[in-house]
Amino acid sequence: MTARHTLVVGAGPGGLSAAAAALAAGARVTLIDSAEQPGGQYNRALPDAYAAARPDRVQHDWDRFDALRRRVLTHPRCTWWSGTEVWALERQAHEAAGPPTVHVAHGPADGSARRRSTVTPDALVLAVGAHDRVLPFPGWQLPGVFTAGAAQAMVKGERVVLGNQVVVAGTGPFLLPVADSLLEAGSSVIEVLEASTRGAAARGWLRRPWELAAQAGKGGELLEYGAALARHRVPYRFGRAVTEVRGDGRAEEAVTARVRQDWSVVPGTERVLPVDAVCVTHGFSPLLELPLAAGCALGPGPSTVPGDEFVTVDGDQHTSVRQVYAAGEITGVAGAPAARAEGAVAGWIAGGGDPGHPALRALRRKRDQGRAFARRLALAHAVGGAWPGWLRPETVICRCEGASYASVCRAAEGAEGADARAAKLGTRAGLGPCQARVCGPTVAELRRRAQGDGPAPPVPGLPAASPHHRPIAQPIRLGELAQAPLDAPPHGPVPDSDLGPGPGAHPDPDPHPDPDPAPDSGPHLPHSPQPPHPPHPPHPPHPPHPPHDGTKEKRQ
């Protein structure tokens, strides 16, 4: 007997839950992540080599995460492919044939001799997460300006502190854990600036308080961060933004200003702060290249912001493509609890679990609460429409190619009626190594404003112009591409007794947080069966790691 094979891409909260639920449903699971350890961004762990005795000190909810990852990674029907990039998805000639063939490269990040292989699962769960969206402003390309996620990744993932005199700015609840991490590591945080006005934030957060109560875990977490700021006497200011960073070859001064509800600068309120680092976030961009490559339809999701796009899913987390499921931030930025619930639903259904299982009701409720939370989040921390007022003609929009605000506007307004693709070739904005991951949404927005029209009508035979269209989802060396991929049977034989859902199988991998089963000895994870080629150096036994906190997860 062969169990249904479910491939999960992304081992953050959503992907890990999906893997656990698919295993509970009786499926064989392959879990893929480009990182060496599961956790994504939200549960980012310290490197094994640090052999940290107290990873829990920098991680919320460490015990729960640790128990879950052990349960998944040690499961006999689970194959864990760490250090593995999905670089392309190859759709089947007929969609009815099922999910796309997944092309992966195993080995050191951006290596040149990684092994290629392909997998065609029975079901595919995409849980690849999101990254910070950062709006451009003069000086944002200076060294010393970081995304909030970078600060978090470095402190929580490596114990590197990016500066000593730091301003944390932007919008959204992610500002708090980032400031908290910096404080914990000994940085001095000068101030935390939330661009949303106090009024807008209050309206967003207080409109339907019962929804917030349902997210008590998240709310409580944020309160703790707030308490940390108070303890360190760090001012948290509403309606103030970093509108420029200056310095000679690095960030030396941050210009902050009061902003109105639309984020236009109130003249005369500018202040100049000496800094050595500025950490910025203006929300999150979902990583949509794999869903797009799989052919999944996109829509506004829970967002009300024009231009926002997420993967469209039904109540089972099923996308528009047969046997392709999506969970987590790519369906709407709703935080880790919602991602876990979505992952559990997606994994259970993708793994062949009973769609009528009573436990799904509670999971869907959790997911819906998460989405309500996401809507409030979007409302309270919406990007103000006047932010381009911060820019100057020469301000860099595309960090890779150096395309300026003026050039992007000229192309958008061009009398020649140029299509978005043609404009891109002209300005080169979005054509550099990051492939529009950073500037794509900004350029699309500026273009929308200049032209005031909707998306261009689709042309048969051409993919829709999308800032997320990246058929090569991760760079691959020409020499690697020239190699033929190996077929990768994901598993050795599985004993029949291990197949199918056992008695009491349950989609929710985490109905009650488990106590840490072995707090002192450290887990000793056996290796899952590996692909038929040596993809990466053997892991040392996993000691416990501190993940990090934030409001996002990501595959990378």
């Binding site: 392309a88 998805l89 190859e90 759709r91 000639a93 092309h103 951006d110 040149s112 490559a293 190619e401 061009g414 009398a415 020649e416 009626g417 140029a418 299509d419 978005a420 693709r421 043609a422 070739l425 002209g426 080169r428 054509l431 550099g432 190594p433 492939q435 029209d453 261009a456 009508p457 042309v459 048969p460 035979g461 051409l462 993919p463 112009a465 990246r470 058929p471 090569i472 760079p475 691959i476 060396r477 020409l478 020499g479 591409l481 020239a482 190699q483 033929a484 991929p485």
Partner: protein, 397 residues
């Protein structure tokens, strides 16, 4: 004819070049596109302006005419609009490389024919190759330099042409899809579009690979079909490749159409430092699915020429559809079945380079002026265009 109204259907590079030429000749021109300008095939190609890939014959003549015209066209556009830099014109020359003895013999024969047709070709000895392309494989059997091959940034070039046309009074209607023809007295007198009726005396079908579909809507079908191609783009590198470099297989691939997918290596750098690596030719209709195996084939062929590029990071691939006619010749001229309808298309992978020559020929034909090259081979009423040509390969190139 002066003052006649012309509607050019398609705002890619062919439509843009035609609009420019026609408006210069004093005609009243409107350009219509269902999308934006230069957004489809034009912005999904490499920007080849080649003479090296064509054997003696009408297409080579069209290529040579176009190559003669390009510098003047750009100079005039610069004078008129000051924006010709956007075309990124680089007369960088091409190098055709054979890596086997058989390939060397085939290339020698091919080049001999081209020389008699007036193509400039220089044989490169080992030292000359090393100095021209230091990273080219030393294991080649022949390397020929074609100094007249050039390159443009295709969407930029199209915009330069269209920009000049607009500056001279042409009008552009984007987001306007043609739905059908309105006939009167056997002539086409208007087209119905999603934006209403557009009247004109002359309609030019410049819809690229969609020319077949458009011609069916107009009631005068021509056999123009899509042929998919893929190009790989590396991350920016320090200067590594200095010409357009092709393996000699490329010569064979253009004309043949026996297999579903063919690949041959075309390697060149852009001003931004990226290296473009082409290309594939697949007859898969308008199917846009990524086929990694095709990309692998392209990569393998490129590495045969430039083994040192194995470590280059491929960050993007883009694919487009070339418009091809079963006999692999462009279609330029009046449609004998529907007076008022003209066609300019079917250039397969060469439309960027051939655009300005095509526009010149079309304009001369339209104004009943003598053409600079023989235009008869491109006429519409040939079997390959009107149907009845059983298979491309039977027609030869």
């Amino acid at each position: 004819m002066s003052g006649s109204r012309v509607a050019v259907l398609g705002a890619g590079i062919i439509g843009s070049a035609c609009a420019r030429e026609l408006v210069r000749a004093g005609l009243d021109v409107v350009v219509v596109d269902r999308g934006g300008a230069a957004g489809a095939t034009t912005s999904h190609g490499e920007g080849n302006v080649l003479v090296s890939d064509k054997g003696p014959g009408p297409e080579l003549e069209l290529a040579q005419l176009s190559r003669r015209l390009w510098p003047g066209v750009l100079a005039e556009a610069e004078e008129r609009t000051g924006s010709a830099r956007a075309a990124e014109w680089e007369p960088k020359g091409g190098i055709m490389v054979a890596t086997t003895e058989a390939g060397a013999r085939g290339l020698a024969d091919f080049a001999a024919g081209q020389r008699t047709a007036g193509v400039r070709i220089e044989e490169l000895d080992a030292d000359a190759v090393r100095s021209a392309e230091p990273h080219l494989t030393p294991h080649h059997t022949t390397a020929l330099h074609y100094p007249d091959d050039g390159q443009v940034q295709p969407a930029g070039a199209a915009q330069v042409l269209l920009g000049e046309a607009l500056a001279r009074g042409a009008r552009l209607r984007t987001g306007t899809e043609v739905l059908g023809a309105v006939r009167r007295g056997g002539r086409i007198e208007a087209v119905q579009t999603t934006g209403g009726r557009i009247e004109a005396d002359i309609f030019v079908n410049a819809a690229g690979p969609w020319a077949g579909e458009l011609s069916r809507r107009l009631g005068a079908p021509v056999e123009v079909h899509p042929r998919r191609g893929e190009v790989l783009v590396t991350a920016p590198l320090p200067p590594t490749v200095f010409h357009k470099v092709y393996d000699a297989d490329y010569v064979g691939a253009v004309g043949s159409s026996a297999e579903e997918t063919q690949t041959s290596a075309v390697v060149e750098s852009t001003r931004a430092g990226t290296i473009l690596i082409g290309s594939s030719r697949s007859r898969v209709g308008f199917d846009v699915r990524l086929r990694p195996e095709v990309l692998s084939q392209v990569a393998r062929k490129a590495l045969t020429l430039f083994p040192g590029l194995a470590g280059a990071s491929v960050m993007r691939t883009y694919g487009g559809f070339r418009p091809y006619v079963p006999d692999h010749l462009p279609v330029i001229g009046a449609d004998p079945r529907l007076p008022g309808l003209w066609h300019a298309g079917g250039h397969e992978g060469a439309g960027i380079g051939l655009s300005v020559g095509t526009a010149r020929v079309l304009c001369d034909l339209l104004l009943d002026r003598p053409t600079e090259i023989g235009a008869a081979p491109f006429r519409v009423d040939r079997p390959a265009v009107l149907g009845g040509a059983a298979d491309a390969s039977a027609q030869g190139a």
